[in-house]
Symmetry: C2
């Protein structure tokens, strides 16, 4: 097993040495003299913290960053996003996902719960770049009919690859939403997810329109409807949840389902404001996601934490809502518990996912509260080194393959720009 020794890093306010053996933290102590193939010396200026686990994204939509903004939802979708997405090939998604992973590495994220087309392209990108990810078997139904042929084909390809995937890659069952997947399909998908002990990943209660249509059709909220179908449990992740009743919150808490909160996307698209504090105090498990770049327009979990904290305050009218520690836990721990990743904290025996952040940086001074500085002040310029599963993905700001990823994506963007409506 390879040893990686982190010398003189700040952990819990103290200077410590940390030994990583293989993919786990083996020892943490004031002074370690173990031999190691690689040593990183923090010089007392780099803090060691858990990295981020992004609970909801459509990674390859980096290709549509800045393509269409400040529009009504349906103009945006129908005139811009869907036609552009229709152009994307398997290879485009591969490079677009790599661009997303590059941005995630730069901003301290080691895991993404992804939902997108051409899944084996995303899988390849993840395997090659060394992050963790959950890749979804995706399901959208033809109006009045069954699951899209393109979904079936891509899901079959993904299934073929499932056995040979690394331990960093998880598979989810990802029916898009209750308004795009019919009841019969939802029940079948849930059953298959259960049999495979996989996470079920679905958009839920994202817009007022979804809630109203669900009420009209089923006489229930989306959350109550999903529960009535037996779809809510500790392995279910509900993306958005911007429209929750007290009863919805009680159901989610009771079922131990996870909410993937996407504050930036929710604000940008005017979807609504998630009731963060109410859900938290009712015992709901809350994680944080960035959504895709078309509606954010970046993948920074640091920024997402700040929006989560501030939108919680605005939504509740209480400056004490959306506390830094709660938001930080949502961004670092929840994903680990949901996907049974034995990480999310820096401790002996845990999986070696870790982030070294620069303390010798103007955004990190005053230096009274590291977590507050991360949630409220820092941006990706504080990121120094990222480690996932014991391997270094970024070392002192350097990432291999960056130039090629940027060049490839730039050329794909030219193709998309050529068809953009003016």
């Amino acid at each position: 097993m390879q040893n990686l020794l982190l010398k003189n890093v700040i952990l819990g306010g103290k200077v410590q040495d940390v030994l990583i053996s293989g993919n786990r933290f083996r020892r943490i102590s004031e002074r370690l003299e173990e031999k190691a193939e690689q040593v990183i010396d923090g010089g007392g200026e780099l803090a060691l913290i858990p990295p981020f686990y992004n609970l909801h994204s459509h990674a390859a939509m980096t290709l549509l960053r800045g393509y269409a903004d400040d529009m009504e939802l349906f103009t945006w979708l129908q005139k811009y996003i869907w036609p552009a997405e229709a152009l994307l090939t398997h290879e485009d998604v591969y490079w677009g996902t790599k661009l997303a992973l590059l941005e995630m590495i730069r901003s301290g994220t080691v895991f993404v719960n992804d939902m997108y087309w051409h899944q084996t392209a995303s899988l390849d990108a993840v395997e090659e770049m060394g992050l963790r990810a959950a890749i979804g078997y995706m399901f959208i139904c033809v109006p009045g009919g069954g699951v899209l042929e393109s979904n079936r084909k891509a899901n079959a390809e993904l299934k073929e690859r499932a056995a040979s995937r690394s331990s960093r890659v998880h598979l989810t069952y990802a029916p898009h939403a209750i308004y795009t997947v019919n009841e019969k399909a939802l029940l079948e998908i849930a059953e298959e997810a259960k049999q495979n002990q996989a996470v079920l990943h679905i958009h839920a209660a994202e817009t007022l329109r979804e809630v109203q249509e669900c009420q009209a059709q089923h006489g229930m909220t989306p959350v109550a409807y999903l529960d009535s179908l037996g779809l809510l449990g500790p392995a279910t992740v509900l993306a958005h949840c911007t429209h929750l009743t007290d009863e919805d919150i009680a159901i989610i808490s009771e079922r131990k389902a996870v909410i993937a909160h996407n504050p930036v996307s929710n604000m940008k698209l005017c979807s609504g404001l998630f009731r963060f504090q109410s859900a938290l105090e009712s015992g709901c498990r809350i994680g944080i996601g960035t959504d895709g770049c078309a509606s954010n327009n970046n993948l920074s979990m640091l920024e997402e934490m700040k929006f989560a904290a501030l939108s919680a305050k605005v939504q509740s009218g209480q400056p004490t809502a959306g506390r830094d520690l709660d938001v930080f836990a949502a961004a670092t721990r929840t994903g680990c518990t949901l996907f049974d990743i034995d990480g999310g904290e820096i401790a002996e025996g845990k999986l070696a996912d870790a982030l070294l952040v620069r303390l010798q940086h103007p955004q990190m001074l005053g230096d009274y509260n590291l977590i507050a500085n991360l949630v409220y002040s820092a941006d990706s310029s504080v990121m120094d080194t990222l480690i996932c599963d014991g391997k270094i993905l970024m070392l002192h700001g350097k990432i291999e393959e960056e130039d090629e990823i940027l060049a490839r994506n730039r050329s794909i963007c030219r193709k998309i720009a050529a068809v953009r409506p003016s």
Copy 2:
């Protein structure tokens, strides 16, 4: 006059050369062969854009970043912020302001409209670090009495220094707010500002409580009250304005006063949401400020633009509100028109304030819309080089004096931490 030649920079989507002579842009052309003492080659990968003008801050409060968060307003102020501020010496404010300016340079800001104690300390910091700033004669009244003795003393010191200041430094008259400065003082301060053709800088309509107390005392909103005293005009900047009636908006528009919008602080303290789109469409002049670090907790105008755009959407319920171009103009142009700075755009003859941003960066791809990428995606890691008044303040990410500023501030923070209530 010194020449600075920017070669192969992206301007308006094209590769251009830009010659700066002294403190102004002299020529912009596809190819320039002029001799220059210094050349920066953008290699076709750096975009040249106007930098940011921060319209409301308390710069030295960097010293209180992360000192107290997630609290009720009055606990926060009375138990934490005010006692800590009382400790700050002239020298502390000097170093705290330098820390703020360092952070501003790193995030592309060349100007700050500042309101704080120990003004000559801030003045020295600004003069030495090469940015532009407006420093306020500050006024707070003793309850039931006249202007604080500490204000009088600091204002007199500032006045003594006024004649010898550089053209980069503006002076404002900065009565804190209508609830901390009495009517007689407000009238005198406004008269003096008028005589000196100086900008008047005041907090206004920041909280519901301020509005309610003003209504109770004067039978008017804060904006109507300030207008009744003759304080609103094209040289007035009103910080916050989170509680505006339609009538208030009409008055501000009519008087051509400027609103300094501080979306992050307003959300963090639950002050309320400024009616950005209504004010804009009513013809109000809107600028953007970061407020101080105790209530933000950073000084990034990039982040502030994103919060301005997204909070405008949430406030209005319209995804078409808070458009990227409007927000960008508020962050770059409004400060220039208010303070009569002949900058805010990259054009021959204009003052040479300029920012070079990295396009070869994951946050800047897709590359369909540079302004959308700046408003919605970029963080300070895209900043390469900052020029103010023809002088380079940051070159390829390097800033002189950075280590000393950080070290000095770290030691001041130890003093403050020692008295922090637990």
